[in-house]
Subunit: 132 residues, 6 copies
């Protein structure tokens, strides 16, 4: 499992993790949580998303985070949305931009999905004090 | 209906329309198409999205377009996704960025929704020759 | 298959069919279209929905139609939404009420799903001349 | 923010709030909960839904509530569905009608989404004693 | 309500219930939970799914369980997915097969919905010790 | 791009392609259709799904096909559902099993999504004569 492909993807993944706040949701915790279910789950979680997708150069890190938050707000999958609100702040998006991206989606996916996403923003903001 | 609120929202809306290609999907066509169904539909379509949402300053026009495309790719509502792929090109996003935003969502919403969005990108690219 | 349960459900179903317009979408056509795939499909399509659900008395026919249209607009399943826009008109809902139900959902499910539903209302209105 | 548009929409909103039960989910609580995230969120939450949509006359209050519950049951966005089950009772729908609307959707959106909606009806009924 | 149709469907339903673990999620508990809301809910929950659908012979019990888990993972309706992960183990699917079915869906519905389903597998496995 | 990883995944993919019917929907056509949009799209479409997911051993080919069809029926993404109904027949599932899997989902995702899936089964059956 510690193949070159895995290592490279893991390094890419670490660029998006929280700097020095071990308590907030992170991809590292995610891998630990699921690895008991199947031996290839860690590589499945790391290699394709970070080796193949996040390493593309079409979007910068902030654009990647905006697109991710928008997709997850529309889908309403909350644990992952919380994780990626954290990721958005990790890569330097401001509170106004993250809140603004979610508000921008109200006409497209409706208030309920957007308000549920804003609830998660409140949760994340309450857990970290490094967001401007 | 030609209230000040409507006029201001309409001006904002026009900032996102195609410059000189009347054949591609646009918000102007959308309003004409639906207005026979209810007399307040034009103002409903223009005022809230453009007067209240697109006029917010948290995101710039390109960020607004990326977020919109991501939300619509996740939702799979195709006529509006086609319209907003056009809007994305109208405000200056490149082919690589639009394609890249959709590819970025593969891990989050799956291949099928993303491939269907890419089908619409092919359709839009075939209809306009001003995209780099 | 011509059991008492099937017959009773079929009679209930016929209460919601178009009076004298054989060209518009109807449950009768639906059954014919699918019956080649499995011998129990006609009874599956008729008995549970019409024998068990539509025969409940909690809602009247117009309320049933409003609820159905709202659920299908949110889901975006278009052939069935077209069928039930017809059903709504069959049981006496007006154009303003059907359009109004869809517009009412804009804040909850967003413009794209509602505009797609309104496109189907335009299609249905073009096919029948008995709607006020 | 206390514009005429906001005031008028707020008055319309108050027609749908619980009469004298401050403990149940309400739009008033919702606004307070989110207003710290962006200064325009209260007006975004009040003005478009209540100034533009709920003030339309195509549907009466009970029909608006049925349509809302149906859309939210299909979408599965639970905090808002709980809020609007309360709203439905506030405007005079009976337990049989609210339960009946959700049961009516079983054939269209499946048991799981409808059972989750019925779980919320049980929660709301346990919190208020004014529902017949 | 204790009609022949209900009895036959109930017997079919019992074939899928947990053998001797009353604490885990089951259809029997489900019926008890909802029956206060409407007198016909028990028959609605039992008769159509188990009398009409589970009694079909096109798929065997394990195939039925795989298809159910896949549909519910895509839909993301969690209480029912938990119930049917239990059902899958009741009819003899292994941990590797249930986990494998969910992992198989990653390319089609994305990681978030699949990881949420795997969270429920972890919960179910922690509650029962008869899964190989 | 013709890396070892790509070649191995491509070989796995070919195990699921139609034997000698070039006219029906296939993964080979899919790759050709999209490759103009981004140079890494062929490897993104082939490597993760077939190199990482389809090469897992937890499910056999028929189980993989049932799970895929179920997920896509729930999601309602039609071009991919059509492709995978073909794949299901390619790996030896019968018409009764494919139709049976879709009918099995009616209680979980509702009639509309299942009837739309059955429409695609009719389309696929009309295009090939090797299905029993």
């Amino acid at each position: 499992m510690a193949s070159e492909r895995f290592q490279k993807a893991l390094e890419k993944m670490m660029e998006y993790q929280p700097k020095d706040n071990p308590d907030i949701a992170s991809h590292t915790k995610l891998i630990e949580y699921y690895e008991e279910l199947a031996p290839d789950l860690p590589s499945l979680i790391v290699e394709f998303p970070f080796g193949d997708i996040y390493s593309r150069s079409a979007l910068d890190k902030k654009q990647q985070a905006l697109v991710t938050i928008a997709g997850l707000t529309a889908f309403g999958t909350e644990p992952q949305l919380e994780l990626h609100i954290n990721t958005a702040f990790n890569v330097g998006l401001t509170k106004d931009q993250v809140v603004g991206a979610i508000i921008h989606l109200i006409p497209y996916v409706g208030y309920p999905k957007c308000l549920n996403a804003l609830t998660l923003v409140k949760k994340v903001l309450a857990e970290r004090n490094d967001v401007e």
